[in-house]
């Protein structure tokens, strides 16, 4: 059930005590990400793909474009489907089988960032109204879970979309893939009353709560998700927003 595994009380106290002093286990600043890298197009069998590393966390995202029937209530919209797999090879706490609540939450948080920012102009993905549209499948593959899968997954998803090569299909008539925004998710963890970005796995395992804020280029918010059993005060949320906005710009710059 717990995707972060077990942590010893000694380490828990150590991390909490460091947080109180504004410090972290790996000597980072509270507002500092681990090293972030984005590799575009590692998978040739996908229309678009990207591998994102944040520290030792690794996520692969692949995009497939396929013909589909539109949803009956949205006959003039293409279809966007985001799926996330927490692979058993990525962590001793991940098990094979249907996506659990953590995988589902991860997929839905990434989905909302892309959908609500209207990053993809879905109206352009209609082939024949009500009958035939393009479906954009984004599959997120967590390869190595060392914390902050949400930010890595959201970044991999948008990087994979930026990498999309046009399908060789006569139904495809657009000059380019209709990607119009770059939403970026930044997760802020709260440990012992202190807010910090990009929690490592051991930090996630002791955090009280997290808040993910997905922002677009102008700094406005398109999606949020609080997680964990702890709480945030109003002031903390405002502080988290400032952090998320500043850090999203840094991550977006990695997309090239």
């Amino acid at each position: 059930m717990n995707m972060y595994g077990i942590v010893s009380s000694v380490k828990r106290d150590y991390i909490a005590d460091l947080a109180r002093q504004g410090k972290r286990v790996d000597t980072r600043m509270l507002d500092q990400f681990r090293e972030v890298s984005v590799e575009s197009g590692p998978i040739k069998s996908a229309q678009g793909s990207a591998r994102v590393k944040i520290g030792k966390t690794q996520v692969l995202a692949g995009v497939k474009l396929e013909h589909a029937e539109p949803f009956s209530d949205r006959p003039d919209n293409g279809v966007l489907i985001v799926n996330a797999e927490l692979l058993p090879l990525a962590s001793p706490t991940f098990e094979p089988g249907r996506p659990d609540e953590n995988a589902i939450e991860l997929a839905r948080v990434v989905d909302r960032g892309i959908r609500e920012s209207e990053a993809i102009d879905l109206e352009k993905l209609v082939i024949k109204s009500g009958e035939d549209v393009w479906a954009v499948f984004i599959d997120i593959y967590a390869l190595d879970h060392d914390g902050n899968l949400i930010d890595a997954s959201a970044l991999a998803a948008i990087a994979a979309l930026l990498n999309v090569k046009l399908p060789e299909d006569e139904a495809w008539t657009l000059p380019e893939f209709p990607l119009q925004k770059k939403p970026v998710a930044v997760t802020v963890a709260k440990i012992n009353g202190k807010l910090m970005v990009d929690p490592r796995l051991d930090e996630e395992s002791v955090m009280d709560a997290r808040i993910t804020m997905t922002t677009i280029e102008d700094g406005s918010i398109c999606a949020m998700q609080k997680g964990g059993i702890g709480y945030f005060s109003r002031e903390e949320l405002e502080q988290a927003y400032e952090l998320a906005r500043a850090k999203a710009a840094e991550l977006r710059a990695k997309l090239g």
């Binding site: 589902i104 609500e116 918010i221 059993i229």
Partner: protein
């Protein structure tokens, strides 16, 4: 329904409410015989039931925690609760809502008092008109109190959003569908601590702050109604078996 040209006309919403006005709210306590605690909430056209079973022995046993009780939440929608029949059983949305509901409530419950036990919270949406997760949390918190589960406070929950550029409280389905932004929120009202926050749509930083202000106001009203409902039950029927 086609998208209306305007969702707010002369400062009034389609159902006549002001932007900062809740829909009519009704809360009933202890309406189920077998559950240890229960509550029924109507918020506008939403009809939501919540039941609490426990603390009771955790099954399966290997899910028992030696030092604490486990809180389990299940949010579920009746197939007839929405316009087009919903296929019964959990889907991705309800799995996620169950998770954030549990995380919204867990903060206030003194779980450590009941090692090896489970407290089950079942939320059933009978009729839906946007805001079912928040109505579910509002109902579940009252049901937990009705069950006599020790808590720090009662969790109150409501959604705020943006419709036609205006920050509004408690969106209807039409407003959710045609508006810009939906932000469900839950809090521990006495200490003003936020235990659930989700949002989709579009907010500037300034709008986010305004929305938080409105959410605090809304939750206060919910909180008053929750306490009033509990007071009514336990004041009038004191001494009676529930």
């Amino acid at each position: 329904m086609e998208k209306p040209e305007k969702l707010i006309v002369d400062g009034k919403r389609l159902d006549g409410r002001a932007p900062d006005e809740l829909r009519p709210l009704k809360i009933e306590v202890g309406i189920l015989e077998r559950a240890n605690g229960s509550a029924y909430v109507e918020l506008g056209a939403n009809k939501v039931l919540a039941a609490v079973y426990g603390p009771r022995e955790m099954h399966p046993r290997h899910h028992q925690q030696p030092d604490t009780a486990v809180l389990r939440c299940r949010y579920n929608m009746a197939p007839f609760s929405v316009e087009e029949r919903k296929r019964p059983g959990p889907d991705r949305r309800s799995v996620e809502i169950s998770k954030v509901t549990r995380e919204a409530l867990e903060q206030v419950v003194f779980l450590k008092l009941y090692p090896r036990s489970v407290i089950d919270v079942f939320i059933e949406v009978l009729q839906a008109d946007a805001g079912t997760r928040t109505a579910g949390i509002t109902a579940a918190a009252v049901a937990l109190a009705d069950a006599g589960v020790p808590m720090r406070d009662i969790v109150s929950s409501i959604a705020v959003g943006k419709v036609d550029g205006t920050i509004v409280l408690d969106l209807t389905n039409d407003e959710d569908q045609w508006g810009t932004t939906d932000m469900p929120i839950a809090m521990v009202p006495r200490k003003k601590l936020i235990t659930l926050l989700q949002m989709d749509g579009h907010f500037t930083g300034e709008e986010f702050k305004q929305a938080l202000d409105l959410a605090f106001k809304g939750c206060e009203q919910i909180y008053d109604a929750q306490r009033q409902a509990l007071r009514e039950k336990y004041a009038i029927k004191r001494g009676n078996k529930k």
